[in-house]
């Protein structure tokens, strides 16, 4: 299974990166491959490519603000959560997506 994710937060220096770290950790613990794009104050890092999105089984948007270029993820089943949820309990976020895409 391959999951893509986008993390973003109001200021773009802290929660974005905490959420990204936790999503990666939680996915890896389940043996799920993941790529997390961060949209922060320093710009976009690990940007999801068209190839990434084409082969993704599911997507997670962890953000309370409007992310850049959300339309890209339209073809992929997407779970949207607040960035805090991914900071607090990324394991549940991953599990919820995995359940939804079965």
């Amino acid at each position: 299974m391959f999951i893509v994710a986008v993390a973003s937060c109001p200021v773009g220096i802290a929660h974005t990166y905490m959420a990204a770290a936790n999503l990666k950790k939680a996915a890896q613990a389940k043996g799920i491959e993941i790529k997390v794009e961060t949209q922060g104050a320093t710009g976009i890092e690990d940007e999801l490519t068209a190839e990434d999105i084409a082969r993704a089984d599911g997507a997670i948007i962890a953000s309370d603000v409007r992310i850049k270029n959300p339309g890209r993820l339209e073809p992929v089943p997407t779970l949207t959560v607040g960035v805090s949820e991914a900071v607090k309990d990324a394991k549940s976020v991953i599990e919820e997506l995995v359940e939804a895409i079965g």
């Binding site: 200021v11 802290a14 905490m18 770290a21 936790n22 320093t42 607040g82 900071v87």
Partner: protein, 153 residues
């Protein structure tokens, strides 16, 4: 660059008195100002409150990371402050806050230092790093911890 290079003793306290979240934001905001990281104290504190109004910065495990990005910040900086008594704070796990890592980010294109702040935040998701930081009782222990994590990357 390493986060250890950004450690500023003026922004470190192993026993800070604060009774409320307001005391923390104002008192530790003043530390930033007194250390010369911020050139307008009121503007900086307003920025912290504005960010808190989005959603609280209590990230759980007793840690809060109040922060803002503002023109009044001269250079990227962070505090490492142990509170003498836990204070009430809206946190992700409902526990009060006893350790405050306040971040100050300038409105510049200086990405190197902003990335250091982001890496520090990400490191806080690592149980061993977080406990190591909270248990450190000297600046030397803190820089050693930062260097150790740098080397693991």
């Amino acid at each position: 660059m390493n986060i250890a290079e950004m450690v500023d003793e003026k922004l470190i306290s192993f026993g800070f008195d604060a009774g409320t979240k307001d005391d923390v934001l104002k008192g530790i905001g003043r530390m930033m100002y007194d250390a010369g990281k911020v050139n307008d104290l009121n503007q900086y504190i307003d920025g912290l409150y504005e960010r808190e109004s989005e959603f609280s910065t209590g990230i759980g495990n007793g840690i809060a990371i109040p922060h803002c990005k503002s023109d009044c910040v001269r250079e990227a900086a962070f505090t490492l402050v142990k509170l003498n008594n836990p204070v009430e704070w809206e946190t992700l796990d409902g526990r009060p806050v006893d350790y405050v890592i306040m971040l100050a980010a300038p409105n510049t294109s200086d990405n190197v230092h902003l990335k250091m702040l982001s890496r520090l935040a990400a490191n806080l998701m690592d149980d061993d790093f977080r406990e190591g930081l909270k248990n450190a009782s000297s600046v030397k222990e803190i820089t050693k911890l930062f260097l150790k994590y740098q080397n693991q990357e």
